[in-house]
């Protein structure tokens, strides 16, 4: 009999029972909540007279819809200017109080983007099943957990039953071999993967990311890769546990301690795919060939190397794709054949659950250091992923580097990744963004997003256009 994949093991260990018709009842160890997709779920519980099955298995923080300016944040929830946003954030506070759920509110120093603070606190642990009403929950798979996004009805379902009714996904292995060239990062790896398999390439699968390149990435880098599994259509992305995983978690506030730590580590060591495991699909990439990526269109699969040009729709493989390309170019206001480095830029955004961790800020600061934001850039935002990331960056003096260069140093939140708050693009503006989605209107009505790594975004800020970050001298 063939061995098991990591996904098989995670699935089987959480199987409560198999139901009729090929569905299964799966136990959920940890449920993250935020202000945007939870109010209707709590309301549903109230209307049905239900209580959380296990309140301690939940953790909440407001992130999607919070302001990021220091001025607005200094007055806490009451200081949120937009009354509709204020009600939403307050509603989360009230619901967490009413139902006994731990919340890191916006005044808590540990507050931040839910997918940043979970691992940072050691709340995310290997071998867990984790869900959240947010599609980027796949991030937590970097620590060997089975994690995926759910809708609000399922948020209510997990609150009430600690379970989900699910169908097992297929297994996909994405193996990135070799070694990345200097200046090429986790973000470039995942954009290259999505460029290769397409935005629906992973639909119906759980993707395990493996190979020497993935092993060489830090845990933060692996989070960036797993974060965007959903952009390839896969609800969950996972990476096997290794020494780095265990080292990362050791001593974190919510990680197990003492004897339980030893017991947990012993169990976590088994969270790898067996050598003889069989995957339904295997995709391989040569990491040494990946160059810094820039998205040119309105889907994360529309990427090009920074050394390349905006593609000609005539070169698209199918008529449907040709139409897609044409629609995308029209929205983006781009001509085929334009060198990526000549795309005009208006704003820069460094942040989001994809790229707002300390190593992202270090990479961006290294490029910015000793330079100034280019005159054509109207705004360059740096939004740390959490209060603790912000504090660490300030301890290292990174904020001074950004501020001296003319970038804005903000309070943590999702910010311009989805632009629910005031951080938005204007109509027709192009943005070099470290976020995860370049959909039409994603960063603001009529806004045009180019997805890049933190180093590439930082370079775009100071040079005023995309440059190959591999050629930028670091001061």
């Amino acid at each position: 009999m063939a061995g098991k994949t990591l996904y098989d093991k995670l699935w089987e260990s959480h199987l409560v029972k198999e139901l009729d018709n090929g569905t299964s009842l799966i136990y959920i160890d940890l449920h993250f909540l935020h202000e945007v997709t939870s109010p209707q779920a709590f309301e549903g519980l109230r209307l049905a007279g239900r209580k959380p099955w296990r309140a301690s298995a939940n953790m909440a923080t407001p992130d999607h819809n919070v302001p990021t300016t220091t001025n607005e944040r200094s007055r806490g929830v009451e200081g949120i200017v937009d009354p509709i946003s204020r009600i939403q954030v307050k509603t989360l506070d009230d619901n967490c109080n009413d139902f006994g759920i731990t919340e890191f509110g916006i005044e808590d120093s540990r507050h931040g983007i839910v997918h940043v603070i979970g691992p940072e606190q050691g709340r995310t642990l290997p071998g867990m099943t984790i869900v959240c009403g947010d599609s980027h929950t796949s991030t937590h798979g970097a620590l060997g957990a089975l994690a995926h996004g759910i809708g609000t009805s399922e948020v209510e379902h997990v609150l009430a039953t600690q379970c989900l009714v699910q169908r097992k996904a297929k297994n996909m292995l994405v193996k990135v071999n070799g070694k990345l060239k200097p200046g090429v990062t986790a973000k470039d790896v995942i954009l290259a993967i999505i460029g290769k398999i397409g935005t629906a390439g992973g639909t119906g699968y759980t993707i395990e990311f493996a190979g020497d390149v993935i092993r060489d990435l830090s845990i933060e880098g692996r989070m960036t890769v797993c974060n965007m599994a959903i952009e390839a259509g896969a609800r969950a992305g996972i990476v096997a546990v290794d020494d780095k995983t265990i080292e990362y978690l050791k001593g974190r506030p919510y990680a197990p301690k003492g004897e339980q730590w030893e017991q947990a580590v012993a169990a976590w060591r088994n969270l790898v795919s067996d050598a003889d495991a069989v995957f339904d699909t295997v995709v391989e990439l040569d990491g040494g060939e990946i160059v810094p990526q820039v998205s040119w269109g309105t889907s994360p699969e529309m990427v090009a190397p920074v050394t390349g040009v905006v593609p000609d729709p005539a070169s698209a493989p199918t008529e449907a794709k040709r139409n897609n390309y044409q629609q995308a170019l029209k929205y983006m206001g781009l001509e085929p054949g334009t060198p990526i480095t000549e795309i005009k830029l208006d704003r820069v955004f460094i942040g989001s659950c994809t790229n707002s961790r300390i190593e992202d800020l270090r990479a961006a600061a290294a490029v910015v250091k000793g330079r100034k934001v280019a005159s054509n850039i109207k705004q360059a935002l740096v939004v740390p992923g959490s209060g603790l990331v912000k504090a660490q960056a300030e301890k290292e003096g990174l904020h001074q580097i950004f501020i001296e260069a003319g970038l804005e140093w903000r309070e943590p939140g999702c910010s311009m990744c989805l632009a629910m708050n005031a951080d938005q693009l204007g109509q027709g503006e192009h943005c070099a963004s470290t976020s995860n989605r370049n959909f039409e209107g994603r960063q603001g009505f009529g806004g045009r997003t180019h997805l890049v790594s933190p180093a590439m975004a930082a370079a775009a800020a100071v040079f005023g256009h995309f440059v190959d970050v591999r050629e930028v001298e670091l001061h």
Binding site: V16, K17, R167, R235, A264, S299, A320, R442, F445
Partner: protein
């Protein structure tokens, strides 16, 4: 939950691949803490020429006359015809809430994104997967014939075209059962409460650090 048994209605053809949930319902409307009222902002950025804000009176906003949803011949449609990978992106259930509120009861496409598909079932919206050639044929017929309507029967798993010919479709038995009967998922799972408790006890013994 709302049930889905049969639906006869006009077809709204949205000829665009990879329609994401930001396109279906833009983020500014997600500030609402309610489940209803999203229909007027369905496809907001394509549907109106200005930028929409929550709690706005949409009846006075300038419509984009080129957008299919605004064309008079498709008014009152309840069946959305779409292209591949419909509903990709964010997990926001506001997308099916907006479709439902607008009056869409079924969606036909060559493929759907996983989370969106699941969210539709929870809201009594039937997502039907048909092969690309069949979907393409339906697009052509819808464009060619004003008042083009389909008759969907979930029990029989058939779509009847205006000429009386039928297309059959697949649906997973468990989803069919839930949709036909409009079942309350949480109530169904609670029937297994003893199994959940027993699992939890075993799991706690094996992984005590998860319950510390």
């Amino acid at each position: 939950m709302k049930s889905f048994v049969k639906e006869k209605g006009l077809v709204l053809p949205l000829d665009r691949a990879n329609v994401d949930t930001d396109y279906i319902i833009p983020k500014q409307f997600l500030k609402s803490i309610k489940r209803t009222g999203f229909g007027k902002n369905l496809f907001d950025e394509a549907r109106y020429l200005d930028k929409g804000e929550p709690d706005q009176d949409c009846s006075k906003r300038p419509l984009n006359p080129d957008f299919v949803v605004n064309q008079p011949r498709y008014q009152g449609a309840s069946i959305l015809l779409a292209r591949e990978n419909f509903g990709c992106g964010s997990s926001r259930e506001h997308a099916p809430w907006a479709l439902d509120d607008f009056g869409i009861r079924a969606i036909i496409a060559p493929s759907f994104a996983d989370i969106f598909f699941n969210n539709c079932v929870k809201n009594g919206i039937l997502c039907i997967v048909l092969d690309e050639a069949t979907v393409d044929q339906l697009f052509q017929e819808t464009f060619a014939q004003e008042g083009y309507a389909l008759d969907i029967d979930l029990e029989a798993q058939t779509i009847t075209k205006p000429d009386g010919s039928k297309i059959s479709f697949e649906v997973e038995p468990s989803r069919k059962h839930v949709l036909l009967n409009g079942l309350d998922d949480i109530g169904l799972t609670m029937q297994h409460a003893e199994d959940i408790k027993a699992f939890e006890q075993r799991w706690r013994e094996r992984s005590p650090w998860l319950f510390a």
